[in-house]
């Protein structure tokens, strides 16, 4: 089997605290993520999902275990600067609070920040900035001041800033948690687009089921361990297990499960609302026949 894009082996992490008996937030976690995949990492607060993101981006070093990105071990200490930059350029990260990740006072200057750090020639930066701003639908705001934009717009600027480094993978660490429904919708469609159209690997950390439903694959973490891994349809089958770890399945799926339990035969996937509507419509037709 070919080398996966990201390979995580027996990863554990314990935050260093004053009291010695701090319990690990990640316990012997193993995971493989292929290039171009759209993976949602689900879990309640404190399940270890944000720690996982920080480990992949080398903000933290694991207590034990290994992470390989494109076959390269990134958990070694004293990595050379060029290698570190190369890694951070390959795997970009968008954080939760839109206010705390924008650096410049003008939108386009902020988007240029990454490529500037990488020493990209001026003319090339200009081209990239214009292109990525168009990709996230924010080109007309190029000259605006970030603090006057809405949360959703700021978050799309942050995405553009990462895209401008030409990453192969972007990690979204609860990037929609502080947004209103409109902002969330815009950011989600931007994320979907860059995965589907540009083939960028997406690792999306979230606790919104409706958002996770869009992914190719869902990984559920609870108490630092992986408890479920599979397609949304597979993961949503485990309604009780999800509820135990504080997660709720989408309402449409919940309804289908309830109907099935009442003895109604509804066969097929029930991930999106369209799926659910199709199932109910079809089964009512069958009943009529």
């Amino acid at each position: 089997m070919a080398e996966p894009f990201i390979k995580i082996e027996n990863l554990s992490y314990t935050y260093e605290e004053e009291d010695a008996n701090a319990s690990p937030v990640l316990k012997e976690l193993s995971l493989r993520i292929e290039k171009g995949e759209f993976v949602a990492v689900l879990g309640h607060n404190g399940s270890g999902k944000s720690t996982l993101a920080k480990l992949i981006n080398m903000i933290l070093l694991p207590t034990s275990g290994k992470i390989f990105v494109k076959g390269k071990d990134i958990t070694i200490e004293n990595m050379r600067d060029e290698e570190l930059l190369e890694l951070r350029k390959t795997v970009g990260m968008v954080f939760q609070n839109p206010d705390n990740q924008l650096v410049a006072t003008v939108v386009e200057d902020d988007v240029a920040f990454g490529p500037e750090n990488l020493g990209v020639p001026s003319r090339k930066i200009r081209e990239r900035v214009d292109r990525v701003l168009r990709d996230v639908g924010m080109l007309e705001y190029a000259k605006h001041e970030p603090h006057r934009l809405s949360g959703g717009q700021k978050q799309r600027i942050a995405i553009a800033g990462v895209l401008a480094m030409l990453p192969e993978c972007i990690i979204f660490d609860e990037s929609t948690a502080m947004l209103d429904p409109l902002g969330r919708r815009d950011v989600m469609s931007a994320i979907e687009k860059l995965n589907r159209e540009q083939g960028i690997t997406v690792i999306m950390i979230t606790h919104y089921m409706e958002e996770a439903a869009v992914a190719d694959r869902i990984v559920v973490l609870d108490d630092g361990k992986m408890i479920l891994d599979g397609t949304p349809s597979f993961v949503f089958e485990h309604e009780d297990r999800l509820r135990e770890c504080g997660l709720a399945i989408p309402q449409g799926t919940e309804l289908i499960h309830k109907l099935r339990r009442a003895g109604i035969s509804l066969e097929g996937e029930c991930v999106t609302l369209e799926d659910c509507a199709d199932l109910i419509e079809r089964s009512l037709e069958n009943k009529g026949n």
Binding site: M93, Q101, V103, E116, G119
Partner: protein, 272 residues
């Protein structure tokens, strides 16, 4: 506090707005030097005229510029009065008990007012009104870049300035929000003596500092993730190349200074 705008930048399309910020900084310094070259009626008249010309070139409503002067009105009036009453000379205009007003006093009061006003208007027009803070920061970094050879961390200072400018509106909003939250718990910021008021600010300042620290931590992480590693090997999206039109103003200001010196030698009009 919504819609707060930091600094005095006034967006418009004008020759001054499009001028290279580096040139504007040099012009400002030279303009200040020129204002101190003035010694007689003609040169002060020219100084006043130049300030008005700058306002016209920057296409900024005079009302906005005059509003900027409002803050220093008291200082202006005070220094003018000092000059009127304390300058002695040969032509006595008015005398009452111990108060003596000389013609020289009137002249020097008018001169000092023109100088202060022209300085404020001139520097304002050349820099704050027509240049965004970020452009100004970049220009300062460029102009100071020779100091890098002496191991002065020019880039670091410029980065600090940029981040400060970026976070001023955010933290202003935050302060407003925390004050509202504490007011909702009965905080009283507007009554009591000085000590009571200072004490009432503690519930605002502590959360504000905590939040600022958290933001700083978040921002540092985000910057690292975007490959920030200091100024070394860094490029810039907007590199300004000096154009011919950027050089013209430099010649103009030198000519302006030369004219002032000539006026001084000729001692045209009343001279102090």
């Amino acid at each position: 506090m919504k819609g707060i705008s930091f600094g005095q930048y006034y967006p418009a399309r004008s020759p001054l707005h499009s001028l290279d910020p580096r040139v504007k900084i040099i012009l400002t310094l030279l303009y200040i030097v020129c204002s101190f070259l003035c010694k007689n009626v003609l040169s002060y008249a020219l100084l006043l005229l130049s300030a008005l010309l700058l306002v016209a070139l920057g296409r900024i409503p005079l009302r906005i510029v005059l509003r900027g002067l409002r803050g220093v009105l008291f200082v202006l009036a005070f220094t003018a009065l000092l000059n009127v009453f304390w300058t002695s000379g040969e032509v006595l205009l008015f005398e009452w008990k111990f108060i003596k007003i000389y013609l020289e006093g009137i002249y020097s009061a008018v001169f000092i007012m023109i100088r202060i006003a022209a300085l404020i208007i001139g520097t304002g027009m050349l820099m704050t009104y027509t240049t965004t803070p970020i452009a100004l920061t970049n220009a300062i970094e460029d102009l100071l870049s020779p100091l890098k050879k002496l191991h002065v961390p020019v880039h670091t200072f410029a980065m600090m300035m940029t981040i400060a400018l970026r976070f001023i509106p955010t933290l202003t909003e935050e302060t407003d929000r925390i004050m509202t939250a504490q007011k909702a718990r009965g905080a009283d910021f507007s009554s009591g003596g000085l000590i009571a008021r200072a004490k009432a600010l503690i519930p605002v300042l502590i959360p504000l500092f905590v939040s600022a620290f958290n933001r700083a931590g978040d921002l540092a992480t985000a910057m690292e993730c975007r490959c920030y590693h200091g100024g070394e090997g860094r490029t810039r999206m907007n590199v300004r190349h000096m154009r011919f039109v950027d050089v013209i103003p430099l010649f103009l200001i030198v000519a302006f200074g030369a004219a002032l010196i000539v006026f001084n030698i000729l001692a045209i009009g009343y001279t102090l």
